[in-house]
C-alpha cells in the first residue's frame, strides 16, 4: 500500500511538472488500482466497473490541479473515487439497494487489477459529439500524438486555442458522461 502511495505520488508530481512519460505510467498504474478498488465495491454491478474506471480517470485528469503535494495521494485519490462511486450509486438508487462499505480509505491502493473488461460506454462516440474547436485539438494532439504547433496548423486554430480546446474538451467530455446516465 505505502509502496504504491510513494511510487504513484512521485510519478504524479513529475507529471504535474510536465513529465508526460511519468504521467502516462501514473495513469496506467492508477487505472489498475482503480479497477480493483471499484470491482470490489461494485460486485453486483460488474458491467459498470470499466465505465467508472474511465470516468474516474477523466476526473483525476481534469482535477489534477487540486492535488497538493503536501497531502497524501491516497486520501486525494480515495476521495475522488468515492465521490464518483457514490455519484453512480445515487443515480442508480431506487433500482438497486447496495450496502457495500465505502469508507475504507486505505483500500484504494490495496490491490491492482490490470485486466480491463470492455467499457460499455464508447468514449470515442461521445468525443465525436464535441464541437470542432474541442474535438480537433483532442484528436490531433492526444490521439495522434502531434505537437501543439502541428495540431494548430492542421485545425487552422491558434496554438493558444488548441491548448484551451483540449482542456475544455476533456471537461465537456466529463460533463457529457455525467449527463447521459
Amino acid at each position: 500500500m505505502s509502496v504504491s502511495e510513494d511510487r504513484l505520488k512521485s510519478l504524479l508530481v513529475q507529471g504535474l511538472a510536465g513529465d508526460a512519460t511519468a504521467y502516462h505510467v501514473f495513469l496506467k498504474e492508477l487505472s489498475a488500482h482503480l479497477r480493483a478498488f471499484l470491482r470490489g465495491r461494485l460486485t453486483r454491478l460488474p458491467d459498470e466497473v470499466e465505465d467508472l474506471v474511465q470516468e474516474t480517470l477523466l476526473a483525476v485528469h481534469n482535477q489534477r490541479h487540486t492535488y497538493d503535494a503536501g497531502q497524501p495521494l491516497t486520501a486525494w485519490m480515495h476521495a475522488i473515487a468515492r465521490y464518483k462511486l457514490i455519484d453512480l450509486l445515487r443515480r442508480r438508487a431506487g433500482r438497486e439497494a447496495l450496502n457495500d462499505p465505502l469508507d475504507d480509505e486505505a483500500a484504494v491502493f490495496a490491490a491492482s487489477d490490470t485486466e480491463p473488461a470492455d467499457a460499455r460506454r464508447d468514449l470515442a462516440k461521445l468525443l465525436e459529439k464535441l464541437p470542432d474547436r474541442h474535438r480537433l485539438p483532442i484528436v490531433h494532439m492526444k490521439l495522434e500524438g502531434r505537437s501543439v504547433v502541428e495540431a494548430a496548423r492542421l485545425s487552422g486554430m491558434s496554438e493558444a486555442a488548441v491548448k484551451v480546446g483540449v482542456h475544455r474538451g476533456l471537461k465537456a467530455l466529463a460533463a457529457m458522461i455525467r449527463g447521459e446516465r
Partner: protein, 212 residues
C-alpha cells in the same frame, strides 16, 4: 474506447500552472468584496458619524468580529475545495469569534440596567440588519461559487456552507461600515443570523452548482 486509449489521450500535456487555485480565490475575494463595497456606498452610504464612531471600541469590535470569522471561513472553504481535504481546526476558527461575541454580549447584558436591555438587543434596525447582510453577501457568494466550480469539493454541502459563510462574513464586514448599532448583543444575534442565511443557502444550492 479502451481504457488504454483514454490514458493515451490524457497523458500528453499533464503540466499544470502552479498556484492556479490560490489565484482563483484571490480574484473571487477581490472582485466580490469590491463590488459589495460599491453596493454599500451607493445604496446605503457609510454611517454619517464615522468620524466620532472610530473612538468607540464597539465600532472596532463590529469590524473585528466578521474579519476573524472571515478568516476561519476562508480556511474551511479552501480546505473543503479539494478532494480529501480535511477541515482540521477550521470549525474552531469559525466558532471562536462567535463564542467570544456571545460572552461579551452576556457580560454587557448582565451589567446593563433592565430597562436598557431591550435597546441593546434590538437596537433600531434589527428587522433590516440580517436581510441586508445576506443581500450584501450575494456578489461575493457568486464569485466564490465560481472559484469553487474550478476545483473539486467532495463534501459538497459542507463546502457550499463554508463558501456561504465566507460570503456572509464579507457582507457583514462591509455592512458594519454603514450600520449605526453599538450594542454587542445586537452583533451576537442579528449579525450572526445575517451570516447564517448565506451559509444555509450555500448548503442548499451546492448539490446543483458544485457537482463535477
Amino acid at each position: 474506447m479502451k481504457t488504454d486509449d483514454l490514458i493515451t489521450i490524457l497523458a500528453s500535456g499533464a503540466a499544470v500552472e502552479p498556484h492556479a487555485w490560490q489565484r482563483r480565490y484571490l480574484l473571487a475575494l477581490g472582485w466580490g468584496l469590491s463590488f459589495t463595497m460599491l453596493l454599500m456606498v451607493i445604496l446605503l452610504g457609510v454611517r454619517a458619524d464615522s468620524a466620532e464612531a472610530v473612538h468607540f471600541p464597539m465600532f472596532w469590535l463590529k469590524l473585528a468580529f466578521p474579519s476573524v470569522l472571515l478568516m476561519g471561513a476562508l480556511l474551511a472553504t479552501v480546505r473543503l475545495s479539494r478532494p480529501g481535504g480535511r477541515l482540521g481546526r477550521a470549525p474552531l476558527a469559525v466558532a471562536a469569534p462567535v463564542i467570544a461575541v456571545w460572552l461579551i454580549s452576556a457580560m454587557v447584558l448582565i451589567n446593563a440596567a433592565p430597562a436598557e436591555r431591550q435597546q441593546l438587543i434590538f437596537g433600531n434596525t434589527w428587522m433590516s440588519c440580517p436581510l441586508t447582510i445576506a443581500a450584501l453577501s450575494v456578489p461575493l457568494f457568486g464569485a466564490l461559487i465560481w472559484a469553487m466550480r474550478g476545483l473539486a469539493p467532495t463534501r459538497v454541502a459542507l463546502a457550499g456552507a463554508a463558501a456561504g459563510l465566507l460570503a456572509g462574513a464579507g457582507g457583514a464586514l462591509i455592512y458594519a461600515l454603514h450600520c449605526p448599532e453599538m450594542g454587542a448583543p445586537f452583533l451576537g444575534i442579528w449579525y450572526v443570523l445575517g451570516m447564517a442565511i448565506p451559509a444555509a443557502m450555500g448548503a442548499v444550492i451546492a448539490p446543483w452548482t458544485l457537482r463535477w
